[in-house]
Subunit: 402 residues, 2 copies
Amino acid sequence: MAVNYTPATKVLPVDGIRLSTHAAGIRYEGRDDLLVVEIAEGSSVAGVFTQNRFCAAPVLLCREFLKSHSPRYLVVNSGNANAVTGQKGLDAAREICAELASLTGVETEQVLPFSTGVIGEQLPVAPFKKAFPATLKGLSEDCWLDAAKAIMTTDTLPKGISKQLEIDGKTVTISGMAKGSGMIEPNMATMLAYVATDAQVEPALLQSLLKQATDLSFNSITVDGDTSTNDALVLIATGKSGVVVNDANQPEFFTLLNEVCQYLSQAIIRDAEGATKFVTIEVDTAPDMETAREIAFTIARSPLVKTALFASDPNWGRFLMAIGRAPVKSLDVSKLSLWLGDTQLIEAGEPVATYTEEQGQLEMDKLEITLRVSLNEGSAATTVWTSDLSHDYVTINAEYRS
Amino acid sequence: MAVNYTPATKVLPVDGIRLSTHAAGIRYEGRDDLLVVEIAEGSSVAGVFTQNRFCAAPVLLCREFLKSHSPRYLVVNSGNANAVTGQKGLDAAREICAELASLTGVETEQVLPFSTGVIGEQLPVAPFKKAFPATLKGLSEDCWLDAAKAIMTTDTLPKGISKQLEIDGKTVTISGMAKGSGMIEPNMATMLAYVATDAQVEPALLQSLLKQATDLSFNSITVDGDTSTNDALVLIATGKSGVVVNDANQPEFFTLLNEVCQYLSQAIIRDAEGATKFVTIEVDTAPDMETAREIAFTIARSPLVKTALFASDPNWGRFLMAIGRAPVKSLDVSKLSLWLGDTQLIEAGEPVATYTEEQGQLEMDKLEITLRVSLNEGSAATTVWTSDLSHDYVTINAEYRS
């Protein structure tokens, strides 16, 4: 039921990255729920993690391990978030890392753990230990799509993408995967995304590029305004292509990285829990970025806006209600203009006389809806993507513990 | 489908207040949609209004008129909010006030207009003009419940209450009514509430008492986090009981006023769009009130918390997720405790070992659910009331333009 979203049939391998999935039976039956990613020695790794104060045990360990060690393995499970599990949860995550480390001859701190699923249940260690030997045997460069499937919870479709460009006659590949469709309003990164490139990028620059791309992609989406306890986005640069990202080619590389991150984050919205619409909210000519973001996100989170979108009801008063309640320092509504697709609804704070309900209906009937707010108070602009609020969203979250 | 809510069968008259309702056909067919309230000369009137920046034409006029004039009439319609209607909407509201003023021999500015219903449609003046003569003929002290019905939109039940106390051997009455069940997160006042007393209260004191009571009632509820463009709460003191509210009896009077405001605001939550649960969220031992309120409201607004409440699912990880993402300056989760009813879930940031899913299920199965968060970081405390997010909420807001 995803909106205009067909998963990629192929995600290109990235030299220096091998992956393997396994049905470890951690929670789900009859499907892969464990992913191990092997990262070649000498790679740079950058990560951004949830700002939720109840961040999960694996997030705490990732932050700790990344301070002092260069990661060689990622271990990811779906079905159990290992969040709000106290010291026991931390111990379990560490034991899982230690086990994988001893099997592969690296240090415990070189294994980064990730979990997604139900919050507040203890993560069993035994299924990991049992599954690791077979999982490691299966490591392969060419199973990104299987990996994207193994990390799904309420997702209906896997999310993966590859982009390539030529630099100095050499091909650089960026491949990425993500999961997530509910509890989505990332604050630093979204629930589990992994992007890798064979370019060589110095660690500080890699972290900076990741932060910039995150703000334009994963930090610009919302399904329900609820920030996960487990959000994590990891960017790996193996350097195996022989291309070094430098001042000259950095813009080009960043554009590609941004395309991958935007594709994956938009795929999360297209596959959002119960989504029937893909909604783009643009706010421009704002006095500052904070005002632009607050207004865009207030519209994007409003249950009344989201139910009107679900109903394809051009009840545009709700858009203005949401703009008017946004927690911004100041807002001169008499300067504000509003467009629904190509149809202008509001000019200088007043309804456009020529607007007809039929025009509005035509725009709202579309699967992809764009709302544009011009504040005419400055030059800041932002774009946010969101989904609607449907019966299926309620059903999924009322009847199912992810 | 309201939760544990049976409307009062009687709302006591208040000496100095007469009311009348009429089926003016402004939008709805076959029901009263117009209310006129007459206020005796010499009464004090205080009001609080929405902080939504797109506030409606009637709200703008109320604010303007109250600056310079003492109100003698309120005119209220349901079905059309007269919000985001530009200069035309302001002109219409003013014309309605002028018409009622000329029929009753008061000044235009002594008539306060109120509207509730669809945003963005022009309010027709003719139905008011046509209905006013008959409506004025029907003025009576004893029709508060009819009035409460006439101002309903998506409400399923009218909301009214009376409280009395003895001061110096004389009886003081406070009666009130309110409407509202969606687009509810009042910021200063909720969508249309009227409270009157026959006590005599000096205007500045009346405004101050109203502000205090509002913060403890209407400003402490949320259905969907969406603040209406038309919120208004008016408190009238006619003085007809002969009792003057002074320093000595003010605490007693305030307690009663607070009871009326809390009853009405809680009635709005009990009758919230699609509500199947009445939820009380208490946050205590917070470092400051702002932190307490942000945490309480973040839980109350969270779609994932609200769908878990609808499902009676003790998925308490969602409560912690919401607490963890609350936009507060600081939060030491290692001190935090959490109770669901009488069952403790979290002690000092970790799950309580003796907790069982059965205990949680027992609490979540109740119609009235209390969640208590102790931060153990200070002495600030707050209580917020909210409803769940059900299929009916989606249906009501997707299929119906209120």
